[in-house]
């Protein structure tokens, strides 16, 4: 296959649609991670929470033969799993990074162990008849060329991801709880001094991050794929963390950064058809993450220096005449 075909692939409506699909399991945990990060408790266990939720959803939907029961169970178990982090960090005072790493390892090993116990297979749950959430076909729009392909026919989680970006933004900046959450993250002592219960707010933040990460996990095993796979998150929980920082710790920035990483991932899929060693192609999303973070920081620094230079010139231009009060 030639590079021309790849390029044509990228500039197609199908490709854009695939970016949205692939971004979904990044946007959701990133938004969750943003909530806990702004509350001052960085949730490094997003990866593990996603795995646990993805696994639970598949198993429960297979045994109950009800997709929605599976989704509910996944959300519940994923959120509870995240609250273990809250328990260890906030109540038992363990280091949050260590506790997060422990949860991730536990999730990876635990899901495989249970998977093997239930199916006798360590690789995937393909033998279980689990369900997937329905696709949403938007009437009328679905039949519009290009736009219909891009916007219609996705799994429900994809729409939810973008909708939740709005919800999270409103929650963080307009609601009392969101305001308290940001206050706690910025100056916990100050928040406590006006009667905000810091530990409670941080527990809620971790719980919400768990809920959103669980949605992300479920979108992998019950929408993107229709079964659970050993370590199927493949680092998405960590890329989500990177998206938060690349996005400047704002909901919109985080959303954009997550979509960017989704784009890199989709690109890797396209390149998969070229005569390039697959390892190189698989590196694309991760390399993009590193490069994006570097570029972001270099640019921020340069902007800062530029701003300083302009300010200094301005001051020099005003000479010693300047000197305002407060």
């Amino acid at each position: 296959m030639s590079i021309g075909l790849v390029l044509r692939g990228i500039f197609s409506a199908l490709f854009v649609a695939s970016v949205l699909r692939i971004s979904t399991p990044l946007i959701l945990p990133a938004l969750g991670g943003l909530i806990s990060d702004l509350a001052g408790v960085i949730n490094i266990a997003l990866e593990g929470i996603m795995l646990v939720a993805a696994f639970t959803g598949v198993v429960v939907s297979a045994y109950t033969q009800n997709v929605w029961l599976g989704v509910l169970a996944g959300l519940a178990v994923g959120t509870l799993f995240s609250l273990i982090l809250a328990l260890f960090h906030l109540y038992l005072k363990t280091d949050i990074i260590l506790a997060g790493i422990a949860l991730n390892i536990m999730a990876q090993g635990g899901t495989v162990f249970l998977l093997f116990t239930l199916t006798g297979d360590k690789g995937s749950s393909a033998s279980l008849a689990s369900g997937t959430v329905p696709r949403v076909v938007i009437p009328l729009l679905h039949d519009v060329p290009v736009l219909g392909t891009i916007l219609s026919g996705h799994h429900i989680f994809t729409y939810l991801a973008f909708l939740l970006a709005v919800v999270v933004a409103v929650f963080l900046y307009r609601t009392p709880l969101g305001t308290h959450l940001r206050a706690v993250g910025e100056n916990p002592e100050a928040a406590a001094s006006v009667g905000i219960n810091v530990v409670r707010v941080q527990t809620i933040a971790i719980g919400l991050s768990g809920l959103l990460a669980s949605l992300g996990g479920l979108s992998l095993s019950m929408a993107y794929l229709s079964f659970f796979q050993n370590n199927m998150t493949a680092g998405r929980g960590f890329i989500a963390l990177a998206a938060i920082f690349l996005g400047g710790r704002t909901p919109w920035g985080t959303l954009l950064a997550a979509v960017f990483f989704g784009f890199a991932d989709a690109l890797a899929n396209q390149f998969g058809s070229l005569q390039v060693p697959p390892q190189w192609v698989q590196m694309i999303p991760y390399a993009a993450t590193v490069i994006a973070l570097v570029v972001y920081n270099v640019r921020r620094r340069r902007q800062a220096i530029e701003r300083a230079r302009r300010m200094q010139e301005q001051l020099h231009a005003q000479g010693t005449a300047f000197g305002g009060g407060d």
Binding site: T179, N187, A190, A191, V194, G195, R301
Partner: protein, 516 residues
């Protein structure tokens, strides 16, 4: 008096889990409508007592009565509900929030499910007007001056319905003018029926603002008396338990060769703010050059750039002709510079290490401490014993962790290390901040002694009285620049310096040239 006092704290005992007795049977009463000063050295238990009153700490024993009724505060919320508000020493504000958002934080006005921002602005403006505390409701706190932040803190407590305001060392960060403004505001509050408890260790302020004063020492109350009947000497004696030299005896300076020459020093922070701009000055052997200024005008950056803790952006700084900018801290120290950092807990000491260890961190790599590959513990031990004695560090021994010492004794450990390094240049940043009168007196005397012995001293202090009494020459820093130089400190008043500190007045480079 027939009616019960507004606040009555009876027999308060507070023992911390680590065994420290912070309050030991304290009785403290406040009458309605008074300004009550609470004074004492650091570690005397003032702040603990107020934290108990504000519900931040629970007393081990004792009783609090409010208007004659016993109360139990489990959290600040309880205290707030009873009309008690506290303005903490380190401001309890959220830097990225606006003034209005900070004022309503925790009790936001709501519209449906959301925070009603308009109402918050409205509330802020009304409160600001009612109490004559000028603030900009929409400004982000990070960008407003310290004086306004303090007014925000006071408005915060008033919004929560405070009738009793506890102000914890409110003047520590203010210029003389801002202090006067604060005092006016306090008087206005009292005129509107509020009661103010004012924590300080500046006795002059006690005399100026308070109606009654309570003195604490070692977790006990040494007495409460009407301010009009107390002299500062008397109060100082009650605080320390002996006579204190409030002024430092200082023989005239005999400045010698230039030791530190700073020229066109510029520093742009990582966030792109110009923190130091074309700073130039000289410190000579045998003199103390004081740097006055409101905190946050580049003093911290100046010290850190000079000591190798931050890279400079431009300019030069020479110690006896040798460039020290952008050298490593060790190179700077090896060229004869000693440094008493302003943040003693983070930069001055390794808290979990012992006193002896802290006393050798700048010299362990040299003989006699280093013998071959190993540190000679015998030498370290003897070195520790000698300095602990010479600098009157009150500790059970040299092998206890520094963290177990009081603030004043921690500072003495630093002073002992830096002074015994026999520096040609001593950079002392806030050397007596937050430490008790006894240790303050000791450190000030040591500084003057060092200078009289020929050391060049660069003294940075937010305590205007301190820079004025210790310095031989003085410069004022404002927004990262030197805006005034005063070759004769006794010829300038606090008020005049205040004008320079606020940026309302400045000398031209030509005027300053001859003295820098």
């Amino acid at each position: 008096m027939s009616s019960p006092p507004l606040i009555e704290m009876r027999d308060i005992v507070k023992v911390y889990p680590n065994g420290v007795v912070a309050n030991d049977g304290v009785h403290f009463t406040v009458e309605p409508g008074e300004i009550h000063a609470l004074v004492g050295e650091n570690g005397a238990g003032k702040t603990t007592l107020m934290k108990i009153l504000y519900g931040l700490e629970s007393p081990t024993q004792g009783e609090i009565r409010l208007r004659g009724r016993p109360v139990h505060f489990r959290s600040p919320l309880d205290a707030i509900a009873h009309g008690i508000g506290m303005v903490h020493q380190n401001f309890m504000l959220i830097p990225s929030f606006t003034v209005a958002e900070n004022i309503v934080l925790g009790q936001e006005p709501r519209h449906r499910m959301l925070v009603d921002r308009e109402a918050a602005l409205q509330i802020t403006r009304e409160l600001s007007q009612q109490y004559g505390l000028r603030v900009e409701a929409e400004a982000v706190v990070d960008s407003v001056p310290v004086g306004m932040r303090q007014r925000v803190e006071i408005l915060k407590t008033l919004y929560r319905g405070a009738e009793i305001l506890i102000l914890d060392e409110p003047t520590a960060v203010l210029t003389p003018q801002e202090t006067q403004e604060l005092f006016q505001a306090i008087r206005a509050l009292v005129a509107q029926g509020k009661t103010v408890i004012f924590i300080t260790h500046k006795l002059r302020e006690v005399k100026e603002i308070s109606d009654r004063v309570t003195v604490m020492r070692n977790g006990r109350v040494m007495g409460t008396l009407p301010t009009a009947q107390a002299t500062t000497d008397q109060l100082a004696r009650m605080m320390v338990g002996r006579d204190v030299l409030l002024t430092v005896e200082k023989p005239p300076a005999q400045p010698g060769e230039p030791v530190l020459e700073v020229r066109d020093l510029t520093y742009v922070s990582e966030t792109g703010r110009t923190m130091l701009r074309d700073v130039r000055f000289t410190v000579r052997a045998g003199e103390i050059l004081g740097v006055a200024g409101v905190e946050g005008n580049g003093q911290t950056e100046l010290v850190e750039v000079l000591t190798g803790l931050r890279p400079a952006t431009g300019g030069s700084a020479r110690v006896r002709g040798r460039e020290i900018l952008n050298a490593t801290p060790r190179q700077v120290r090896l060229s004869g510079v000693a440094h008493i950092p302003e943040d003693r807990l983070n930069n001055g000491l390794a808290l979990t290490a012992t006193i002896n260890e802290n006393l050798i961190v700048d010299r362990y790599f040299r003989p006699p401490f280093l013998r071959g590959l190993f540190i000679d513990s015998q030498v370290v031990q003897e070195h520790g014993v000698r300095l602990i004695q010479a600098f009157d560090i009150r500790a059970p021994g040299g092998d206890v962790p520094v963290a177990s010492l009081s603030g004043g004794n921690m500072q003495k450990v630093i002073v002992a290390r830096e002074f015994s390094a026999e520096p040609v240049l001593l950079i002392a940043a806030q050397p007596t901040r937050g430490i008790d009168v006894g240790a303050t007196e000791f450190i000030r005397r040591q500084l003057v002694e060092k200078r009289s012995g020929g050391t060049a001293v660069l003294l940075i202090s937010a305590d205007l009285a301190e820079v004025m009494s210790l310095s031989d020459r003085l410069v004022v820093m404002y927004e990262g620049q030197i805006t005034g130089v005063f070759p004769q400190v006794d010829r300038v008043s606090e008020e005049e310096l205040g004008l320079y500190m606020l940026g309302l007045r400045r000398q031209t480079p030509e005027e300053m040239e001859a003295y820098l």
